[in-house]
């Protein structure tokens, strides 16, 4: 397949040529998905911690629901947010459909369950291990939760990266609520979909390679930070 070769050539040309338009698309991808992952973490992590340490009625059902929501199809989330934000919808007066803000909302909805469900599991495992210790210290549940989050922070970082990966890679939701508007809501994945539509498969795949490279760089950065922190805190 010489189109694979063409794709790598296209990818290289895109990276080496530093096209301003591409930089803007890449920047928006990062901006939207990083914002979404921060919001999802701010919501998902406390929810996960709460479920991990608290015992209440319906807890098991909530866990099942959260785990199931990890499989939310992006296109369904997109449709839901579209109907909410559409002028004919309940939040239409905000006028934020087809803006990056709408894309952030959709992606945050998509990945909050992932972060909540995975951190719940991680924290609960840690809780089983430290339960007695924390109890004997007389720690209240909220303190226990905070301690657990701190102790498992590196595992949690991986979870946050998984959430980011899901956000930056999805196309279904941002296509619907963003509209793939040139220069306004076009991100990497919708640009890839557009080039595929135009039949320019090497360019589409080239953009995919650029996206992948970017995600690898971000993950490498996270790994370096983790190493540095491990060394400092032992």
């Amino acid at each position: 397949m010489n189109s694979l070769g063409e794709a790598f050539t296209a990818a290289w040309r895109l990276i080496a040529g530093f096209d301003a338009e591409l930089a803007q698309v890449v920047g928006l991808s990062l901006q939207v998905s990083l914002t979404a992952v921060v919001i999802a973490t701010l919501i998902g992590l406390p929810v996960g911690a709460m479920i991990a340490v608290e015992r209440f009625r319906g807890r098991q059902a909530l866990i099942v629901l959260l785990n199931a929501l990890m499989g939310l199809p992006p296109v369904v989330v997109g449709l839901l947010v579209y109907l909410l934000l559409s002028r004919a919808g309940p939040l239409g007066s905000l006028g934020i459909l087809f803006t990056p803000t709408a894309m952030v909302i959709a992606q945050a909805i998509l990945i909050t369950p992932i972060i909540a469900a995975l951190s719940r599991q991680t924290l609960e495992d840690a809780w089983r291990e430290y339960d007695e210790q924390l109890r004997s210290l007389g720690a209240r549940r909220i303190t226990a939760g905070m301690t657990l989050i701190w102790d498992t922070r590196f595992s949690l970082l991986t979870i946050v990266l998984a959430g980011f990966g899901r956000a930056v890679a999805e196309v279904g939701a941002v296509m619907i609520v963003g509209g793939n508007i040139d220069g306004v809501t076009r991100v990497m994945t919708t640009a890839i979909a557009l080039e595929t539509s135009k039949g320019d498969l090497p360019l589409a795949l080239g953009l995919g390679i650029v996206l992948l490279t970017l995600v690898i760089v971000l993950n490498a950065l996270a790994a370096v930070i983790r190493e540095m922190a491990l060394r400092r805190y032992g």
């Binding site: 990083l34 914002t35 921060v38 087809f98 922070r153």
Partner: protein, 274 residues
């Protein structure tokens, strides 16, 4: 770690705060249009000229005509720029549009594999070609997405007296997607496909596909433009939207449309009545 996290947080939050402001300094309208106008590259050629003249930014959301009109019905667009006269007139009759203006036309073509299993290459009669495709049960990739092109394709099947649904699961294959993806599918399985010429000319992944039928009067493809009715949706940017409609059908707008070429091929032929 903490420093990094707060740095990321600050970056992300500052990003969020800026998001709604992006482009707010410049007036803009949202236009619901079709994949054919976007993917053929017309808008990239047309819109900068309009923006330079008026300072109005045009945000295009490209979908099938059916979806684009629904966007207008919901009030999510200021202007609709599509190509399905029957559906457009229904939109008008429902009161969602103010007035419909014809803008330009191009034509549909039937593309198919060089091997030409239905033996229709070089023909000028689309109805005859359809009959032969059905008779030969040759693979045919349809949009199946309620777009303007899909509607035109279905009208032709009807005129040929054939219900393509009988070939469903067999030779008639609905992709349920845009023109480009449908052409990708057709190219991969050597199927016939019905496409607008603009998308075809700018389409790169042709494989063995070539134009097999063109030039029939039935293949005429008219584009129209309408302002979404502010009486139905008060937030519609009436003045900015009307400025765009007026410019597209003005002598200047029409000339810019006529000037758009891929290689030596003119893609759209302006025909606004002024």
């Amino acid at each position: 770690m903490a420093v990094m996290r707060s740095a990321v947080l600050a970056f992300a939050l500052s990003g969020l705060l800026q998001l709604p402001m992006a482009g707010a300094q410049q007036p803009f309208i949202t236009v619901a249009s079709t994949t054919s106008t976007e993917q053929s590259g017309l808008f990239k050629h047309l819109l900068p000229v309009f923006e330079k003249k008026t300072g109005i930014r045009v945000r295009v959301v490209a979908q099938g005509t059916g979806q684009a009109l629904d966007m207008g019905r919901r009030g999510d667009a200021d202007v609709v720029f599509v190509h399905d006269r029957v559906a457009e007139e229904k939109f008008l009759a429902e009161g969602f549009g103010v007035q419909r203006f014809e803008v330009m036309y191009n034509d549909f073509v039937l593309v198919g594999p060089k091997s030409d299993p239905a033996k229709i290459a070089g023909g000028r009669n689309i109805i005859e070609a359809y009959k032969k495709i059905a008779a030969a049960a040759a693979p045919f990739a349809s949009r199946g997405d309620k777009s303007g092109t899909h509607a035109a394709e279905l009208r032709l099947w009807k005129m040929a007296g054939i219900d393509p649904q009988t070939g469903k699961g067999g030779w008639y294959r609905e992709t349920g997607s845009g023109m480009g993806p449908t052409l990708n599918t057709a190219s991969a399985m050597n199927a016939y496909a019905f496409t607008d010429r603009g998308t075809w000319l700018s389409f790169r992944n042709r494989g063995d596909l070539v134009v097999v039928v063109e030039g029939d009067r039935q293949l005429f493809n008219q584009y129209g433009i309408m302002l979404v009715n502010p009486a139905k949706h008060p937030h519609v940017k009436k003045d900015l939207g009307q400025a765009f409609v007026d410019w597209v059908i003005s002598a200047e707008g029409q000339k810019v449309i006529a000037d758009y070429k891929i290689g030596t091929d003119q893609l759209f032929f302006p025909n606004a009545k002024r």
